[in-house]
Amino acid sequence: MLELLMPLRSLFEWLDAFPSSIAIRESQYVYPGLLTSHVVALCWFGGLILMMDLRLLGVGNMQTPFSQLQRRLFPYQMVGMIFSAITGLALVYAQPMRFYVNIFFWVKMVMMALAGLNALAFHYLTYNSVSRWDRDPILPPAARLAGALGLALWVGVVVSGRLIAYNWFQ
């Protein structure tokens, strides 16, 4: 598995040697501050994504037509995503070699990419026909599938992200 990542090793090592990377790594407060901000941002982002996925699955927030929910939550989801991404990138920047050797980090990255593809496919394909199913209690299979995949993948991202703290397989 790790052989696949060999081309990235030099990039991570290059980052690892940056003076500012070392400074964050060694600071007593910046790293914990980033970690805490990342948790807040991911709760914001993940929570709002979850609320939308529950609606897609037909098990939650059924009082709201889907397009209204989407329109209202989307800007806030993007804010959450941007803050999660900034704090997440800073965490990786501060300890590149710790993440490089951690299998949970790579599982998280793959799941995040898949979740992104799922969101794009939903947005550009399934969502086009929203006017036809907006108020339905049971949404078309493609919408339910997008909800189920989104739920499973984002839960996977959160779980594997949290497990990075445990370096069982090194």
């Binding site: 993940g46 927030n61 709201t64 209204q68 929910l69 779980v159 445990y166 069982w168």
Partner: protein, 156 residues
């Protein structure tokens, strides 16, 4: 109080959790997943209160979110207790733990009294300003529970 925390810390179940390789991680992961659900159910209503745009009425959104709010909090409690008892002494000596507990009690009371009343009220009963204030307070309170919670484990 200290003797009570010592007693919790020395319970056989606390020791078992501490000595197990996978129990603490499992509980930590489940607690975070439950937190995401809970915060989602809080925010979907609070952002509507703060943003106050015209579509679905607040009470409909609050009714839709309430089961997830309750399930989320129940799961947080269920996964929080094992963390507390297995680290009872660490928690006892952590200022962040006590801060979290105090704010959590305030946030819970606020959520199930004032916030519940305002969100479930028919449209027009409370002014836009009052609703914005309740939404902002709720975000502030629950944020002040989550932030020190993460800090307990980082500064011991």
């Amino acid at each position: 109080m200290l003797s009570y925390f010592e007693w919790l810390n020395n319970l056989p179940v606390s020791t078992a959790i501490r000595e197990s390789v996978w129990m603490s991680p499992l509980v930590n992961v489940a607690h975070l997943a439950a937190l995401v659900m809970f915060i989602g159910a809080v925010l979907i209503v609070d952002l509507k209160l703060v943003g106050n745009d015209e579509d679905t009425p607040v009470d409909a959104i609050a009714r839709g979110a309430e089961p997830w709010l309750l399930v989320g909090f129940f799961l947080l409690f269920l996964t929080g207790v094992p963390q507390l008892i297995s680290n009872a002494l660490r928690e006892y000596y952590s200022i962040f733990f006590w801060f979290k507990m105090v704010v959590m009690v305030v946030a819970l009371i606020f959520t199930f009294t004032i916030r519940r009343r305002v969100t479930l009220a028919p449209e027009g009963q409370f002014s836009a300003g009052a609703r914005k204030l309740v939404g902002a307070l709720s975000i502030l309170l629950w944020g002040s529970v989550a932030i020190p919670a993460r800090l307990i484990g980082l500064f011991t």
